[in-house]
Symmetry: C3
């Protein structure tokens, strides 16, 4: 029993060979210093490994656009500023189709299309005159058909519109809340101020022209075909310092592929408003518009000192300091003066051994002898 406990309580420590050589000693200490510098400088100070980090940022964004000619001033994360390209009034009726694939000479050409959906209506199966020279299959739908080739009037005055962004964030791990403008600002300040990347990052009013410029886009080209601009609000907060939680804005064009291809060169859409007149006829106004769309994207994380990651990284640092011995051993056993002697000292071969029993002073001693 006692032997069991003694066996359980034995402690093994590795045997070491001590080398008193200035060369290898200096190399060893230099390598250890590099490792410690890496941990202190990079891991602890730069990567802030002594902090616990909250990446689950909660964010709410409220936006307003102000400027004359705003049609739909909705308050969502995605703003749409659009200009009407063409507005056409349609009447729900029977009329000749428009698509060149529906040309015909007589009703039998159209009968195969009966009740199949086309772009603007369901085909009736009859062939009717489109103009003096051409006949088309008749559709029951919104007449006349849409025409795509009216020149746009770019939305120049949009450049002076202003966007108000109110972003409120919270880090739930620390119950810390902040907003993108100071609670102390006054109504007058808000009415007059303008966001500036260099001088004034605390004003939440952005001029559309400025935002487009910060995203390195030419406003005229962007307004011509439309596009999507991203307003990124990044929050990198260090809660150990008293005032180190501020938003940093960056602006980028999100639909970069629009600039490279001719098929879908920008951002446009259609919508229709439907009316019923007194006599019961259905009308609709079809609007095709180009738009600049602004997506507000919020991300961020916050860190605060915590004992657990600090301890874990300190243990990792101390453990890593010993990694240098791999390099030092290679130098010691191969390149240093007296390497052979060190090698002999470090490595013991297991060979056949004998021992002599020697009687001395009435005690028996065991003397180990190594074969050559």
């Amino acid at each position: 029993m006692c032997t069991c406990i003694t066996d359980f309580l034995t402690y093994e420590t590795t045997k070491s060979v001590v080398v008193k050589s200035w060369t290898i000693g200096i190399i060893n200490r230099v390598v250890q210093l590099l490792i410690i510098t890496y941990f202190v400088g990079w891991v602890f100070l730069n990567e802030k490994a002594y902090q616990v980090r909250d990446t689950a940022i909660e964010s709410s964004v409220m936006t307003k656009v102000k400027g004359f000619g705003i049609y739909n001033n909705r308050v969502m994360d995605v703003l749409l500023i659009y200009v009407v390209l063409v507005k056409i009034v349609h009447k729900l009726n029977n009329c000749p189709g428009w698509n060149l694939e529906f040309t015909c000479t007589q009703d039998s050409n159209c009968s195969k299309y009966v009740n199949k959906p086309g772009d603007y209506g369901i085909l009736t199966g009859r062939c009717v005159s489109f103009n003096t020279t051409m006949k088309m299959c008749e559709i029951k739908g919104w007449c006349p058909a849409e025409i795509d080739t009216i020149k746009t009037t770019p939305m120049m005055e949009v450049e002076n519109f202003t966007i108000f962004i109110k972003n409120s964030i919270r880090f739930p791990m620390f119950n810390y809340t902040k907003g993108n403008f100071l609670p102390t600002i006054s109504s007058d300040y808000i009415k007059k101020c303008n966001f500036d990347m260099v001088n004034n990052t605390y004003c939440p009013i952005f001029k559309v022209g400025d935002v487009v410029r910060y995203a390195q886009q030419n406003f005229t080209k962007l307004a011509d075909k439309g596009g999507i601009i991203g307003i990124k609000i990044g929050w990198l907060c260090d809660l150990d310092k008293s005032d180190d939680c501020n938003p940093s804005y960056s602006f980028t064009r999100l639909d970069a592929m629009s600039q490279k291809n001719a098929v879908s060169p920008g951002y446009n859409f259609r919508f229709a408003k439907y009316y019923k007149m007194e006599n019961g006829t259905d009308y609709r106004t079809l609007v095709k518009a180009y738009a600049i769309r602004f997506d507000v994207l919020v991300n961020g994380n916050a860190g605060k000192f915590n004992m657990i990651p600090t301890l874990i990284n300190m243990v990792a640092a101390f453990t890593s300091v010993g990694v240098g011995t791999v390099l030092c051993d290679i130098i010691l056993l191969n390149f240093l003066k007296g390497a052979e002697q060190y090698k002999a000292k470090k490595f013991e071969e297991v060979k056949r051994t004998t021992f002599l029993l020697v009687l001395y002073n009435n005690t028996v001693y065991k003397m180990y002898i190594i074969y050559i």
Copy 2:
């Protein structure tokens, strides 16, 4: 002083026992080979540990739906294709309520509800005739009340509608942009092509019927009650290879629970349009519609070779190679032939020791003797 420096510059290396046994040697090298194979094969090649990875993908999505009968062709990330189930015209007026809990026989039954909101109006407190046999508490609201039991006409022609998806992504760490169709495609190609999972993944035009089929849904059942389909665009890019950044599409039904329960079996909603007639009366058209909603979800990451993760993982690999000695030591000291001898060689017990001083050739030598 000099002793201090010498002490600081000592170097300790562990003493090793060298075993020249083919058995344990082969086991050792096999274990090391397995560890190296794991690192090279899995960590470096499969997991691409030599690359730095950017997971903060920036994405913009623009969608269009084309097909006759599209009521609201909005251009958002979430498309709604709906079909009208029932359209009811209401007039703002006083009329009998509808909900069976508001049955009454006289005004006093209704007086407790006065000015409390019901489903379709505020109760006036009076009890009026609903039909020849029943009386209900009167509401001031939108009359007549909504009726829920009209059979739907499923939206069969929706199967042929087409969805155009333009997705532009950017990896900010590498300033790399790409889109889901090639910039060289022509207008004609776009007008005719159709997305196909096998043959044609570069066409951004998707037929609704195809999308529903790829999501393993039956179109008739889905159209009957509505549902939500997710179109997932995944970007896994390896920027070290010249053409390895392409979107991979997958389609799934997001509201799986709709299929399993009877209470809320799909996706439907109501909206109302409000009118004022010439005589000043308020009217509304209440529309209840079923819809198929398409959510476009974009995710992805990109990797590119970088020296720092490569070095860190190489150091981890080299350090891990030594882990095999744990297993080899167990075999060496317990199962190998001659295990006792190895054990004796490996472990030195600390026992009482004496030394003999021996005079030889005018120099004193210290000879250590170990007790049995």
Copy 3:
């Protein structure tokens, strides 16, 4: 050749010094026990390191709001319940401007503003009478101009509105789907039940007043200026247990900064509906409304047993058990009784050595002697 193979197949194991001391033995085993307890208790049981984790949750949310006076019952992830603050009818016409910065005495004061956009129209350059005492620059736009100072009627009855949330989630790695209410619930139950944080978390019907109260907000104050409430649905699933995948709801006010500042104290927006009258004049109804907006935020992850993370963490555990020797060595070599002897045993200095060649029994033996 054979020597090469033999050299390649040598195995090195570190030499160890065995200390049979109860003190250091107990300290060693206690430290090892602490390390094992940390791994078993924290890493394996608490952090579930034996599981592979899927964080890419797919979620779809469908919401409905019910209650009298709902104007726009859209079915999106973001609900807007708003109350109309003021409704003004405008006519597109020429009229005096409203903004005090456009006061004037004669046309020349206004000529500098010609064709520049103001808040409600483009200035014509003429100076016209605003009232008996004041003249303003004329605008061509929506007249009369908006007035901001009408008292609101808070939306008290909104407190009893109900929100129905249907959330369906899927973990693609395990192809596991779940919803926030049981598929077995009946229509009657849904019509009557009400969500309760304590007693009834399986009813998907939420009273607006309850949600606001759970978010620790005062309904009257919130309704007065509007605000944004977050409904967070968290899914932490352990798929090794049979019924451990349930949603946990939390409610929070997302626009905390609204409460602290006077400039933008809540959540309000404007929209306009446009009409054309029979005589061709354009009219619009401008509505300014305060709203409570509800954002539904879904997140979560699921874990399931997997051999790979189990093995990796077991290897890490075993490797870490040896870290305790750093502390034990410090105690052994500095503080324990007999420390000097242990130090002498553990460290071997490399010094000049000589050996004696001894002839015994016709075999030559090498006897190493260490200098003092």
